[in-house]
């Protein structure tokens, strides 16, 4: 997902959550960034703070943590990391839009199965919202 549209989604989701719960200010939003979506952290941060200013209630701070991708191969039941898979740049690009495309492109280096389950690090998720 592109950083700006992603930031827009996060800010929109947080702001509407805060409004529904009658919050006047949002102090901190913790966000986890899954490795598979390959988000550019610099651009994403910039987008978040800019967009966070312009919503009601205002979002004052963001904290980002990266989450490494962990896959489970259903062929041999071994866990795998993203760097163990051989993906071309083009394939990586497609996977960053829709992580499930791994099934079309990636194979387990141990057993050759393409039945890989993403256990961690798939995409962007909002971990917590501190508001009052």
């Amino acid at each position: 997902m592109h950083e700006w549209s992603l930031a827009e989604a996060v800010v929109e989701a947080v702001a509407s959550f805060a409004r529904e719960h009658g919050s006047k200010r949002v102090k901190l939003v913790r966000i986890s960034l899954g490795e598979l979506q390959a988000v550019d952290v610099g651009i994403f941060k910039e987008a978040l703070s800019l967009l966070g200013e312009s919503v009601e209630p205002r979002i004052e701070g963001f904290q980002l943590e990266r989450e490494k991708a962990v896959l489970l191969c259903r062929g041999c039941y071994e866990t795998l990391l993203l760097e163990e898979l051989s993906l071309s740049d083009e394939e990586r690009e497609a996977v960053h839009f829709v992580p499930e495309l791994l099934h079309a492109y990636a194979k387990c280096p141990r057993c050759g199965s393409s039945d890989l389950d993403v256990i961690r690090g798939r995409g962007v998720s909002i971990k917590s919202i501190e508001a009052e």
């Binding site: 549209s5 992603l6 989701a13 839009f97 829709v98 962007v124």
Partner: protein, 245 residues
């Protein structure tokens, strides 16, 4: 918390969305979806087509698409093919087979709806996977003001599952009505009776065309000539009149 539902609402606000579904396979749901997009285009509407059948996408065959890749510009922007802004997972997967589990279908569908932008599009036709499983119902509920178009054929099995679909969707989304596909001349329509009994609007029928798939394969305009005009009548009932220009 998943930020995607908020993104999806934003992406699709201001669009009319026709979600084409069927409770069983083999009723020609994809044919109807593609013909609807073509017909909307011919009526003067700016149409988009989204193939959400991830494991067996086939809209691109009927559309005669070259499967050019989408552009990246603040998300994915589908290419325009034959006057229709068109996105299919086949553009991203290089038409490779994609075997997904239920929860993965759900994830991928949410992702696609959240990242795809439809600049200029007024009406988006969404072709869903066959069957009305939980994942599909979830998706339908994410689409703001989605109008569900059910496709059925004149057979007992299809109407039974039509009833099941209508029950499953009651309240979840607006059911715009039922289109009968592959209707053979002279026969009484069980679909029409069944729709009336379920309190669903019967939107009209599309005739059976012998060997349609082969015709379309040989001649890319076959769908436009043979099916789209009937679909135009259905679209008229949904409020899509011909526009000038």
């Amino acid at each position: 918390m998943d930020p995607r539902p908020a993104a999806i609402r934003r992406r699709l606000e201001g669009l009319r969305t026709l979600v084409v579904a069927s409770s069983k396979g083999g009723v020609g749901k994809t044919t109807i979806s593609v013909a609807m997009a073509m017909s909307l285009r011919d009526l003067g509407w700016r149409a988009g087509l989204l193939d959400l059948d991830l494991t067996n996408p086939s809209c691109h065959h009927l559309l005669g698409s070259r499967l050019s890749g989408p552009l990246e510009d603040k998300g994915l922007v589908p290419p325009v093919e034959r006057g229709i802004r068109f996105l299919s997972i086949a553009q991203l997967s290089g038409d490779k087979p994609l075997a997904l589990r239920g929860h993965e279908v759900d994830e991928a569908v949410k992702e696609i709806l959240a990242v795809t932008r439809w600049p200029g599009v007024e009406v988006l036709v969404i072709d869903t996977p066959p069957g009305l499983g939980d994942e599909i119902l979830d998706v339908v509920s994410l689409v703001p003001r989605g109008e569900l178009v059910l496709v059925a054929t004149n057979s007992l099995l299809a109407t039974t599952s039509l009833r099941r679909a209508a029950e499953a969707l009651a309240g979840a989304s607006k059911i715009a009505g039922v289109v009968e596909n592959m209707r053979r001349g002279g026969s009484t329509s069980r679909v029409e009776e069944e729709a009336a009994r379920l309190g669903l609007r019967y939107l009209g029928s599309v005739p059976y065309v012998e060997g349609l798939d082969e015709l379309v394969e040989r001649d890319a305009t076959a769908l436009e000539r043979l099916i789209a005009p009937h679909v135009a009548a259905v679209l008229g009932k949904l409020g899509f009149e011909r526009r000038g220009g």
